[in-house]
Symmetry: C2
Subunit: 168 residues, 2 copies
């Protein structure tokens, strides 16, 4: 399957199950949303994406606390988790949310260069406001590509694949 | 200049003038954001994008009133204007906002097939909460391309060019 066929298949699976999803994107910068919305019929299953590229926007749009951002890198399990919870909460129509942070380079801290964190959250499985409910564990992934544009595409594919896998 | 060079030039112009921008995208579905963030250094000038693909998300994230959405098409001057005002207000770091709505097809109402509305708003020139200040007039544009993916790209280019022109 080529990329468009995979995206079409994701849309079809969601449509059949009457599920809608929403994204919070940092490193992919809107590319995951753009790829999905390139397919006709996307609006049936795709609510939108908060492309929160700067830290201040993660705070203002998603309510990610300045404490979390200062205690952890903005590319981290903690921030990714805060993003996925916030975007699902902000989007009553969505039953599934995915969030991604990462460093595409150049000029990333060496230990984070090409590192992603991604998280998926389903409304049914989570009481979003309760701290007693276990949180989904964000997945860490090391990008294979080296150039920035290729990494952006790889990261978008990774996120959309993760959503598809969560449906199986 | 090819597309990447044009985007790089936009980032450089904004950087020199210490301006940051934010987007509210409907029909481009995140592609304008993705193109900008494909360029290294984008985070200096690009805050983020609210990709509000479904109507409910325009209301929940941007506060576009259900009245405006029911009285007008979601592809309209009025909705585009409400989006650009709301996203600038939601983003204190941004001094410039741009919003876009449109029908890329297929299955668009005939009179709106391939039609875009785009608006630019500068913080300095607008008292965001005052109705007495004249609103920016959204620009209507008819896409030249016919396929959905090509139209999405043309629309993203159109929006980013409009931002660049607003700086000249």
């Amino acid at each position: 399957m080529n990329r468009s066929e995979r995206y079409r298949s994701l849309i079809e699976k969601l449509r059949k199950r009457k599920l809608r999803f929403v994204l919070a994107e940092s490193c992919t910068g809107g590319l995951a949303a753009a790829r999905i919305t390139g397919i006709a019929g996307a609006s049936e299953v795709f609510c939108g994406s908060m492309v929160t590229y700067r830290e201040s926007v993660k705070t203002e749009w998603l309510g990610v606390s300045e404490d979390i951002l200062s205690q952890h890198s903005s590319v981290s399990t903690e921030v990714t988790l805060a993003m996925v919870r916030a975007v699902l909460k902000a989007t009553p129509e969505a039953s599934l949310a995915a969030a991604i942070t990462g460093h595409l380079g150049p000029d990333a801290p060496e230990e984070l260069d090409g590192i992603l964190f991604a998280a998926i959250l389903c409304r049914e499985s989570q009481a979003l406001n309760s701290r007693s409910v276990p949180s989904p564990q964000p997945i860490q992934y090391r990008l294979q590509e080296t150039g920035r544009a290729a990494r952006q595409q790889e990261a978008a594919d990774f996120l959309l694949n993760l959503i598809e896998e969560s449906l199986d």
